[in-house]
């Protein structure tokens, strides 16, 4: 038995080595690798927060960093988010590039003053003399059956605060690319990680992506939305956790004969007006899909921008499929809240089609 097992294992290992570049990678792993790669290349990058070192984070996104880089570069802090962010700011002022983890979305709120009054404004307050190359990682949004305070979509608080960049990947390769860009950025980045996507997988060649960074060969993703699925009849504008249902809805619509374009913003700040407006001018119809409660949200902003820029191309008002204006529901009720394929299709149906 053991000989057979050993032979199989050896074969599997060889396969893995050969096809490493083609193995499915999780979103979580892409994030971990992005940090590890950045830490290898730049020893001013440090990682800290609650439970990030020994435990590797409650989502294991920082798993292995302490083991590889030591306790000086990946360490646990006392349980205090304002302390974590405020200390990171001081470190960023003094030559380091800190990456901090907020354990869950709503647990970043104790740090809100540090984020809004200092992290966002220090560069401006000092007339550009003090740069803050720091990343605040925020696992966010629902879809994982989490209890209250563990599923907030808090991106609007940050996007509304001038001086913060806000990135939110929706794919495994963007998880790697955007996090590398966030770490490399001289501006503070609030990095919003859709936690329901942590365990999503894709066949991504991390080595190639890494090489792209090292050679500077990759285009920047910051401020560049992508057309996640091309189409001609209507545009779905989504980001982060809303991208998968948008894509699924486009797929379902295609079965009905409707060609729907899906745009994944990737970064909310800066915003890619060009890609969004070009799509809507082409299709003449748009639905914004987002998970956050909708009042005064990023979705509101997108609607406002699109109608300001594409008014004369629009055949129908820009619609929103976004969260209700209620606190995020308890686990057993969240499916009624989350933007579903059906709800997106219903919204598409209201776009005053002439057919």
């Amino acid at each position: 038995m053991s000989t057979v097992a050993e032979a199989a294992a050896a074969r599997a290992a060889a396969d893995a080595e050969k096809n490493d570049s083609l193995q499915p990678v999780t979103f979580a792993k892409a994030l971990t690798t992005a940090m590890a790669d950045a830490m290898r290349e730049d020893d001013t990058v440090v990682v800290f927060g609650e439970d990030v070192a020994k435990l590797g984070g409650v989502f294991r996104i920082t798993d292995g960093l302490m083991a590889e880089f030591g306790e000086k570069r990946c360490f646990d802090t006392p349980l205090a988010e304002s302390g974590i962010v405020g200390m990171a700011l001081g470190m960023a002022m003094n030559g380091l590039r800190p990456i901090v983890e907020m354990q869950f979305d709503a647990f970043a709120y104790p740090a809100f003053e540090q984020i809004a009054s200092h992290v966002a404004k220090m560069h401006n307050r000092t007339r550009g003399r003090v740069r803050l190359p720091m990343v605040i990682r925020v696992p966010y949004a629902g879809g994982i059956g989490g209890v209250e305070h563990h599923c907030d979509s808090s991106e609007a608080y940050y996007a509304h605060t001038p001086g913060l960049k806000v990135f939110t990947p929706a794919t495994v390769s963007d998880a790697y690319r955007l996090l590398r860009e966030a770490i490399a950025s001289d501006d503070p980045v609030v990095f919003m990680e859709p936690k329901k996507l942590y365990w999503s997988k894709d066949a991504v060649d991390l080595a190639a992506l890494r090489a792209g960074f090292q050679g500077g060969a990759l285009d920047r993703a910051e401020g560049k939305a992508v057309v996640a699925r091309p189409g001609t009849d209507a545009t779905l504008i989504a980001y982060g956790p809303a991208v998968p249902p948008a894509l699924a809805a486009a797929e379902a619509a295609a079965e009905e004969g409707r060609s729907v374009e899906v745009i994944d913003l990737r970064t909310i700040v800066p915003f890619d007006d060009e890609t969004v407006a070009a799509s809507v001018r082409k299709t003449g119809r748009a639905v914004v899909v987002a998970e956050a409660q909708s009042f005064a949200s990023v979705a509101s902003e997108i609607v406002a921008r699109v109608q300001e820029r594409c008014f004369h191309s629009l055949a129908a008002p820009v619609r929103r499929v976004a969260g209700f204006d209620i606190p995020f529901p308890p686990p057993k009720l969240e499916h009624w809240y989350l933007p579903s394929v059906d709800r997106i299709l219903d919204a598409l149906d209201t776009l005053q089609w002439e057919d």
């Binding site: 609650e50 439970d51 020994k54 435990l55 590797g56 409650v58 646990d76 802090t77 006392p78 349980l79 205090a80 988010e81 304002s82 302390g83 709503a106 647990f107 709120y109 104790p110 059956g145 209890v147 209250e148 305070h149 563990h150 379902a252 079965e255 009905e256 009042f295 209700f324 204006d325 209620i326 606190p327 529901p329 308890p330 686990p331 057993k332 009720l333 009624w336 809240y337 059906d342 709800r343 299709l345 219903d346």
Partner: protein, 389 residues
């Protein structure tokens, strides 16, 4: 020394000087040894002048009954997680003495502000066990009416509830009521800014709040030594002009004595107090956690030897109060509660999506009514046969 005169007066009635009252330089209070024997009065760790009245034998027997039920609740809930009946459960296995003492030290008109880990304390105070599980079952955020048993909603945002406790105490004080409020948190939670603000507000407004820290040595994976380098968490009281105390958190006798005294002092007008109980989180943080990543078996074993139930059982056996009959009656009580949990949590809850819009405000706004109608409409269409994609 600027502790208000009336507080100094109240404290001195207990025969303690203010300096001695405030500085927790002594070690922890322990009354029942780990082997289940009562310590002689002069070996309980108290400083001269401090009196910790030991509860009566009847009270101790009842406390033990609660411990047995509490342990069963913890184990039953952990089992219900494994069976998929609860989404998550932060067990207080090993901390039952703290849980039970927290509930028993209060009067009916008093208030308790618990954390997510304090379900056993919540139930011991009389909240229906199944209602207390609503949060972890995922049916709603909270299941019981806080006003009914005067128990705040179990808080997950750490430390924030201490301020609510302070406010409840302040309102009661302004009305001249003699309510005492027990405000609970963990060792990790003491690092949050709200801890500082709550203790300071309670001290400055001289409020009858007993802050009860269950130091179970860990905040998820982070051990106490990474949380603070203070000599003890009780020492944090000094900076607020407040008394701090340490107690063996696995000794229900000491807990009842120390918390009881703290509540009595607070009710008499001493102002707030801080009590740190040294205990241990015997299981992982929650079922989602893997404790082997950050602590070793030897440590867990060492604490298992200090188990709060065993100790109390030995003592009550030795006094003869705990007979086989009594013991099986207690086991029966525990099984009744466990049965109630199993039954209550196995029944499918009746969840109405329209409730999502009902409690956001006292009355739904026009916007919420519109959104509620949208969802109702969507669901109605879903139910129609032949609905097109």
């Amino acid at each position: 020394m600027t502790i208000p005169a009336e507080a100094q007066e109240a404290i001195s009635r207990f025969g303690i000087s203010i300096e001695d009252y405030m500085l927790p330089v002594h070690g922890q209070i322990q009354i029942l040894s780990e082997d289940g024997t009562m310590r002689p009065e002069d070996q309980r760790g108290s400083s001269p002048g401090h009196q910790y009245p030991v509860p009566s034998d009847d009270e101790l027997l009842e406390a033990y009954r609660r411990l047995v039920v509490g342990r069963r609740v913890n184990d039953q809930n952990s089992a219900l997680v494994r069976q998929g009946r609860l989404a998550v459960y932060p067990s207080s296995h090993g901390q039952e003495a703290c849980q039970v003492a927290a509930a028993l030290c209060l009067r009916e008109g008093d208030w308790m502000f618990p954390t997510y880990r304090d379900a056993v304390a919540v139930m011991t105070r009389g909240v229906d066990p199944v209602e207390a599980m609503t949060l972890f079952r995922g049916d709603w955020h909270g299941g019981y009416d806080p006003h009914e048993r005067k128990v705040g909603i179990q808080s997950t945002p750490l430390t924030t509830q201490l301020l609510h406790a302070v406010g409840v105490a302040h309102a009661a004080k302004l009305r001249g009521e003699d309510t005492v409020v027990l405000a609970m948190c963990g060792d990790g939670a003491t690092s949050e800014g709200d801890f500082h603000e709550a203790l300071n507000f309670a001290a400055v407004f001289h409020l009858p709040v007993v802050f009860f820290v269950q130091n179970n040595q860990y905040a998820i994976s982070v051990p106490l030594a990474h949380q603070t380098v203070a000599p003890s968490l009780a020492h944090k009281a000094v900076g607020y002009g407040m008394a701090g105390e340490r107690v063996d958190g696995n000794d229900i006798v000491a807990l009842l004595a120390v918390l009881g005294r703290a509540v009595t002092l607070a009710r008499a007008g001493s102002g707030p107090l801080l009590v740190e109980a040294n205990t241990y989180r015997m299981q992982a943080h929650t079922n989602a956690d893997d404790a082997t990543r950050y602590r070793n078996e030897a440590e867990v074993k060492a604490w298992a030897a200090k188990d709060p139930l065993n100790r109390m059982r030995s003592y009550l056996r030795s006094t003869g109060a705990l007979t086989d009959d009594v013991e099986s009656a207690f086991a029966g009580d525990a099984e009744d509660v466990a049965q109630r949990l199993r039954d209550g949590l196995s029944a499918e809850p009746n969840l109405d999506p329209q409730e999502l819009f009902l409690h956001v405000f006292a009355e739904p706004t026009p916007q919420l009514r519109e959104q509620a109608a949208f969802l109702a409409d969507e669901l109605a269409r879903d139910e129609q046969p032949g609905k097109e994609l």
